[in-house]
Symmetry: C2
């Protein structure tokens, strides 16, 4: 069984299927984020009911608490999350650079202080793979260095060089572990392209990764402040840079406008905290744009968040009730909006897949953008 | 169809059934508290799955936000909570005395300032019934005056006098509304006994309420600091003071030890925030006593909260994972312990009902107390 198959295309957009030990995943797919082994505010049965197929957990957060070995003892991230579906873990690198206090960064790896208890930890390409093997997700990511959105060419080049070298070391470690997790399930390793907004560096990064013949490739270092247009210019080359038979994952992207643009440039996988984070802040996504549920206009509104939405919140609660829950600081408010937003993203991705099948993605994209923004 | 039937007894303890427009309720019953139209941290499908039969909502909280008319517009508390089962609302009086800034208290009623926005509101026996008619619960409570746990005989006597007068006015208002809610469903009105720890006042209060021939009677003014022994001494007379064919509700009681003692003295209904409040504070109830899930000893424990418990948390999560969720401040931790504790109380009450049927309540009570404490 091939790891990834493409069954239809519409321009550069691809309808595909990823095979994982926890079932097939229809792409393009959006992955909700379960940072510390929980998609915030949502029980796993409700998460499953949203139609989410694959979730992401953050290696950094699980490394610093409770630790990769404890996670393995508790059944891996799948076991801890009570999640029967597909799962991906990042390498931890991104959060080391954004959350931890960095102590040392060199060719070997990175030494940092936990943002939780100040303890000193090390992450190398090898230890990142080892940790992810203990966590046991279906897809693990290489350790990479993510340059900031405003990185100079020289800074971005350095990040590419280091990331390419680390990718090779991750692959070697992954091979030495037999490409299986501590739970003895097959694990795929994805490489991560860097290069900032510089075409030559993106091309070089992709070429170096493709030589490693990995199961999938991610576009990293975007959605870090470069803006929508710059992101699109980078993605204009993605389809040419990576083999057609491997899934492509745009890390950290979430905004529906960005998802549409990326799918139309050949991206298959996405992840973002937006559905749950915005949900906790009383914002609901709909195909007609966003609602702010703290607004007084919703106070006596008996209609659901979105007509035609089949999510648990829309089937059981009115806008007025949800506003009341937020005004009263009831946990149920964030929970309901998180559920609704996760369902929105699942419905949105399903609509994208249908449009690819119908070869109507351009027209649909225009409609969605005009309705939503 | 009679409102309340008793099908078995064991000593003073009664196995009964309450008939409500939202289905029958097996007694003795424990009612989880959904203060502001939400049992904190729990979606209604999970609440139902705990086996909870009847929930309580707080009139005071819903009066100050979003207001009784808004609640009625949003489908009553049943509609807002998306709760298909039985429901009871208190009168608001207790919270007026404990939460609000009191402006005026006299024979007519009470004027107070909302603790939410400082607005001035009034609660009279008539307006308490009117508000509860808008909220639409199956059981409404009379407005009463609850004297503090250390009230003198004179203070407690004053509270009895006022509560009896208010009970009669509540009954008149309830009759004038046709004993139905704004949603046109039958509503029962319960009277509330006061009298502190003074036998003569308790007897007088009960006698004055029983004259009003109400569908049910509550024992109020307990669980306010008087202690277990004093509570038991008051309840020693309850069975004699109220007619056998009416349900008896001990307000605000929750502690399993107190529930056992009260059932053995003829009480049928209970309510308390304990399952959810303690759950949010990482405490799990079990038949072997309580667990504190933040304790390090649970860190790598793969066993469920309680062997043999069929709740959603125990079926899907280990103690180690739940500890991790609390240490990481994930909302799922409080949610899972709230679910487990609600299920514990439902299982505990079911075990009490079975013991009454088996006429083994004394022996079982001894066992439970020795295992739990």
């Amino acid at each position: 069984m091939p790891y990834f198959t493409v069954s239809a295309t519409d321009g550069k957009a691809r309808l595909g299927e990823l095979s994982t030990p926890h079932g097939p995943v229809q792409t393009p797919v959006f992955m909700p984020v379960g940072t510390a082994a929980s998609v915030k505010g949502v029980t796993p049965d409700h998460l499953q009911a949203t139609g989410s197929q694959m979730v992401l957990a953050n290696t950094y957060h699980l490394l610093v608490r409770p630790g990769a070995k404890v996670v393995a003892n508790l059944g891996g991230v799948h076991g801890m999350m009570s999640w029967p579906g597909a799962m991906l873990t990042d390498s931890g690198g991104y959060q080391v650079f954004s959350l931890a206090h960095l102590r040392k960064l060199d060719e070997d790896g990175v030494v940092f202080q936990s943002h939780v208890d100040g303890s000193q930890l090390e992450l190398t390409p090898e230890s990142a793979v080892e940790a992810q093997s203990l966590l046991g997700a279906d897809v693990m990511m290489q350790l990479d260095e993510c340059a900031p959105g405003d990185a100079t060419h020289a800074q971005a080049a350095k990040a590419v060089e280091r990331s390419s070298a680390w990718a090779a070391r991750c692959r070697d470690k992954w091979n030495s572990l037999g490409r299986v997790s501590a739970q003895n399930k097959p694990q795929a390793l994805f490489g991560i392209q860097q290069g900032g907004v510089y075409d030559d560096l993106r091309a070089r990064s992709a070429a170096e990764l493709v030589k490693l013949d990995l199961p999938g490739y991610a576009v990293g270092g975007l959605s870090v402040g470069e803006g929508h247009e710059a992101m699109c210019r980078v993605l204009d080359h993605t389809d040419d840079q990576f083999p057609a038979d491997r899934p492509r994952y745009l890390m950290g992207v979430g905004e529906p406008r960005d998802i549409i643009a990326a799918v139309m440039r050949g991206i298959d996988m996405f992840d973002c905290v937006m559905p749950t984070r915005n949900g906790r802040n009383a914002q609901a996504f709909t195909f007609k744009g966003r609602l702010r549920l703290r607004n007084a206009c919703h106070g006596e509104d008996r209609s659901p968040l979105e007509e035609g939405c089949d999510c648990y919140a829309c089937r059981n609660f009115s806008r007025g009730t949800i506003r009341h829950l937020f005004m009263s600081n009831e946990m149920l408010g964030p929970t309901l909006l998180s559920i609704h937003n996760l369902r929105f993203f699942a419905r949105f991705m399903a609509a994208i897949r249908q449009a690819i099948l119908d070869r109507s993605l351009s027209a649909m994209a225009e409609q969605w953008l005009s309705d939503m923004y």
